[in-house]
């Protein structure tokens, strides 16, 4: 299994604060992965380490199999990065920006970038400083994609966009993702959007990876159980409790289980959880973890 991103015991310190501590992850190629977590959890730090803008304090990070700093010439041509503040030169026109991109990138695909922007009705002669937030994000995406990256990393690309601009941006992003082999890692707080466009989740909390896996699999393995009031230490065979809520009559349990592995106890109801409910349950309980079981492929490889 080829990995787009792999980190082992990765640490990053800013002064006396650990932004990432003992962070390990493996993201296979071809995924559209959501990077989720509270502000300050280490999401931006991880993305900047992946594209070599930051140097790890300890541990190892590899992108497409290479160290982003030691082997930048193997990594940088193959990755695209959209930073949080969409850094475009405000005084430049869009065609100036494309010109810069063409000079800097050997695999530059000018035709796709111009077609994409024309289809969106964004004139190349316009100055970057006069674009709306949605248009600026689209221009930045078009430039990142014109590099023909194999791995596209986006830091909060949806944060400043209105609902329509967000939808238009995600349409473009999904069209790019449907091209063979492009791996996408995007950080965002808009979980409803992520549930729609992502197939993989990386949940970061306080500098560590708390949950990782295929979203379909995570949704199938989590549920809400509601039943009578029970003692806090009651154990239902086959389930692990992530979060619980009790009152004098009722117990609510956010649980992880294989649906077939356990029987819903008599007097209890079960319902599915949304991705957002799963994320919130884990964030409220930093001791709970969920990682995919090692696959046969992983053991053999």
């Amino acid at each position: 299994m080829t990995l787009a991103l792999e980190a082992v015991a990765l640490r990053k310190r800013y002064g006396r604060t650990w932004a990432l501590s003992d962070f390990s992850v493996s993201l296979p190629v071809g995924r559209v992965a959501a990077l989720v977590g509270p502000n300050g959890a280490g999401k931006s730090t991880l993305l900047q380490l992946a594209v070599g803008l930051l140097r790890p304090s300890a541990g190892d990070i590899r992108v497409m199999g290479w160290s982003p700093r030691a082997h930048s010439q193997q990594v940088l041509p193959r990755v695209g990065f959209l930073a949080q503040d969409v850094p475009l030169f405000r005084g430049f026109s869009i065609s100036d920006m494309l010109q810069v991109g063409r000079r800097l990138n050997p695999r530059w695909d000018q035709a796709t970038a111009t077609t994409r922007l024309q289809r969106l009705g964004i004139s190349l002669s316009r100055s970057v400083g006069h674009l709306s937030g949605g248009q600026r994000a689209q221009v930045a995406l078009a430039i990142a994609l014109a590099k023909r990256p194999e791995f596209l990393l986006l830091d909060e690309p949806l944060a400043s966009l209105d609902p329509l601009a967000r939808h238009e941006f995600l349409k473009e992003l999904m069209e790019a993702a449907s091209t063979d082999g492009l791996t996408v890692l995007l950080s965002s707080h808009v979980i409803a959007d992520l549930e729609r466009v992502c197939d993989h989740l990386l949940l970061v909390n306080a500098g560590r990876l708390q949950v990782a896996g295929e979203i379909d699999d995570l949704m199938a393995r989590h549920a809400l159980l509601v039943g009578p009031q029970v003692e806090p230490d009651v154990v239902i065979p086959g389930v692990e409790v992530i979060k619980s809520l009790r009152n004098i009559r009722q117990t609510s349990l956010w649980v992880r289980a294989q649906r077939d592995d356990f029987r819903v106890p008599a007097g209890w109801q079960i319902r599915d959880l949304s991705l957002e409910e799963i994320v919130v349950a884990y964030l409220g309980n930093p001791d709970a973890n969920a990682f995919p079981a090692p696959s046969l492929e992983g053991i053999a490889g």
Binding site: V32, M174, E175, S178, T179, A192, E195, R196, V197, M219
Partner: protein, 133 residues
């Protein structure tokens, strides 16, 4: 021109994969999709409704497993020649009227809507167990 446009509802509680499958099934049932019609490519679908490409791939694969569509490698996905024929609109209307009468009698018997839905589901499950077509 594609013969089907997908609409995804994030609040329906139904997975996007299932919504796509249901919309193709309904379009076939109502004759909007006919045998030989080409479904939009994965790329076309994701660029219109902003959904994960694998979700569309999976939905098309499930439809193929149920024999409703066939995928011709390198060409596209098509409604299968063996896909069920559309429901006759007159027949549909008369079934709808029969059901409405039944619902009236169920309400008279004191059944509320969730109880009615439970009963419909129960009967459907019983009949599929017995192998009644």
């Amino acid at each position: 021109m594609t013969p089907i446009d997908f609409h995804l509802n994030p609040r329906s509680g139904i997975s996007y994969n299932t919504q796509l499958i249901q919309q193709v099934r309904q379009a076939i049932r109502f004759g909007r999709l006919r045998p030989g019609d080409q479904l939009p490519s994965v790329r076309e679908v994701v660029s219109r409704v902003a959904v994960n490409p694998n979700t569309v791939l999976k939905a098309y694969r499930d439809l193929e497993h149920s024999g409703l569509v066939v995928t011709k490698t390198g060409i596209g996905t098509f409604v299968a020649e063996s896909a069920p024929s559309p429901v006759d609109p007159n027949r549909y209307e008369s079934l709808r009227k029969d059901l409405a009468k039944w619902v009236v009698s169920a309400r008279r018997a004191g059944m509320d809507d969730p109880t009615i839905m439970d009963l419909v589901e129960l009967v459907l499950r019983e009949m599929s167990k017995r192998g009644v077509a």
